[in-house]
């Protein structure tokens, strides 16, 4: 029997419409399981993910945030994911610098044919985030509430 009380992390997954979202679809139709607490947010392209979306997700209670897009070179808009990659590298490093462990953020390239990879990525990511526990830090950067 599954342990009901085990901590289930809330995960926001930004998936680009053309590859990763279709990859998630494939994972579903192939009956591969991934944690139900992964909330998929469909975006037109990985570079549509404004850094503020990520901060917002954390502030609203996400324990981890993952961006998924087409493989570099395969972006539907040619170069969107290259820009997204730079932005994410800087923002995630900054979040780490502010005390949000780097395990809580990830970028993964998942194509429409990679249902398997999608499920595996989400399972692995959820496991990492679960081991880090709840994330209240970003919402508490300026002493709104106390941490525990």
């Amino acid at each position: 029997m599954p342990v009901e009380s085990a901590f289930q992390p809330k995960i926001a997954a930004f998936c680009c419409n053309w590859c990763s979202y279709a990859g998630a679809d494939l994972a579903g139709s192939s009956r591969l399981s991934y944690p139900a607490d992964v909330k998929i947010i469909r975006v037109p392209c990985s570079c549509r993910v404004n850094p503020l979306f990520i901060l917002r997700a954390f502030q609203r209670g996400a324990d981890g945030v993952i961006i998924c897009g087409c493989h570099p070179g395969d972006c539907h808009y040619t170069s969107g994911n290259y820009f997204a990659r730079r932005r994410a590298a800087l923002l995630f490093s900054m979040l780490d610098y502010l005390g949000v462990e780097s395990g809580r953020t990830r970028v993964e390239w998942v194509s429409a044919a990679e249902g398997q990879k999608f499920a595996a990525t989400m399972n692995d990511f959820a496991k990492t985030v679960a081991s880090l526990g709840k994330c209240r830090r970003i919402g508490d950067l300026r002493c709104r509430t106390s941490e525990s």
Binding site: L52, P72, G73, F92, Y97, G99, R137, G139, D140
Partner: protein, 300 residues
Amino acid sequence: MQNVRELMIKKAGEMLSSGEVYGVLAWERGDFACDQTPALFTSPESLSRLAYDEFTAPMLSKYLINEAKKPNEGKKVMVFLKPCDTYNFGHLLSEHKVERDRVYAVGVACSGIFSREKTLLEKCLACKGMEFHHCDEVIGGEGKITWDKLDRFAGVEMIESMTPSERFEFWRGELSRCIRCNACRNVCPVCSCVKCVFDNPGSGVMSKSNADEFEENMFHIIRAFHVAGRCTDCGECSRVCPRNIPLHLLNRKFIKDVNALFGPYQAGASLDDASPLTSYSVNDPEPGYKDKAKGGERVA
């Protein structure tokens, strides 16, 4: 410095009398001790008020955004730029916020700026160098760094070596002191968007007050990210902060990462380089991986 000041007055006087420029952006005596404040001089007589000494900290490049737009029969505005301010000037030019041919830029020698407590400013301790960029002429020549230079990334590395919880406690301690006066945003030459995400026109007089809790909490990350890859590291934000929040440690983290991940880059040094976040390379490293291409592991 006295000598430099006289040369500045002489040059400014010539330019104003010949009608080549309609005004001169410089500094005058401020209201407090050791306080020189930016001022626009429009007549040769007024130049006796011009001040320049080792307490002249404010940068003038940001004022060009408005000054260089004023019609004034197409006349130029003259501006004095310290070495670090020439990077800001370059940045404003590269983003087309200032038209180069409306400005007569004069570099002025600097020998380090002191605080009211007579100590060298942090930004001067970590001085980027005394070269002038993008200037029409230079007064007083290139200065010399006569003090022990601080490694400008030492502070960032110190924080990086802490555990995530320590880092969080450190930043929460610092950022919680913020009173959202917006001085850091307003002084920043890079932070000069006509319409700013922090504008909140619906609130009447307090147009830059917090719109909501999200903004209240995230102000510093958003501010730092918006200048990422564009910040010239002039250090003005930390200098003007009334609560002494080390904002340069956020900016320098981005600068350090940009240098390490995408190659060395100094904002404002060249007018042709694309800024790191508006360009890319197909070989950029993957976020979070040390070196994925070479089978590196995730840094978690």
